[in-house]
Symmetry: D2
Subunit: 87 residues, 4 copies
């Protein structure tokens, strides 16, 4: 993975910490909307990590495959990804 | 634009027809959630048209730019697009 | 519909104007990503109109149904709406 | 929280397990798009948990507040939630 490993790891650990927190909230029978807000906040962190991963992928893997004259597979993957993201 | 012009045009005309319908619904003071449902249905049609446009773009413009040894601009555009879609 | 009719109408007419513009872009065979960007901009306008409609629905229809002691149908509709929006 | 605690807990533990898996993928320098796909799969699980939480909230907390003649706060919260979800 070409994205900054430390940055992505930090986001993932934050997301994991939040999930641990939500598990505790469920156990303590906390208020629905507080649980919901934490779930959405965790989704946002994972989204941020994903954008970081995809940005580095574009700038690195895809670019290199193109330079090396071997872009076919990368372009097919991107077409699938974009179709998924645009849905 | 590389997507099938007839298909995209048909979707756009459907969306326009729906917007005309919603304008009429507003004028006739129809029920909020009926208006909302039509608004979301129209968004779905535009989303479908967009996926069609992007799919053809990947298969055609991007591929050709790569084959022609001039991919730089296309790849930069895709990176921006993916970051926007993943948000 | 309880949202400001003028505001919603204005947004809908803007969206319709943009769709007319996109139809012309397709006819003139304009660049895929320019078409795509316009499609996404139009989706944003419809989203804005929808938020306006839903906000007024909550503040008016739902509230009144509750005050009038007849909230059952409104609450069921909201549950369906929230499940759709959260998907 | 009114949603089935066991079901929500199971989803959260699955999501946590996936995040642990992604952390390992990052450490092992696995392929960007494999990491990205796992990130999106984890977002989907959290979304599913959130829908479950919100559904139970509607059917339970909101309904009860209305029956008990104290709906004001719940309706305000819902208006904020819907505006956030529709964005």
């Amino acid at each position: 993975m070409k994205a900054d490993h430390d940055q992505v790891t930090r986001l993932l650990k934050t997301a994991r910490g939040q999930i641990d927190g939500i598990l505790k909230m469920v156990e303590e029978d906390r208020y629905c909307l507080d649980v919901s807000n934490q779930l959405m906040a965790t989704q946002s962190i994972l989204k941020k990590a994903n954008r970081m991963v995809l940005k580095a992928h574009m700038n690195s893997c895809v670019r290199q495959a193109v330079i090396c004259g071997n872009p076919e597979e990368k372009l097919n993957e991107l077409a699938v990804l974009i179709d998924k993201l645009a849905d």
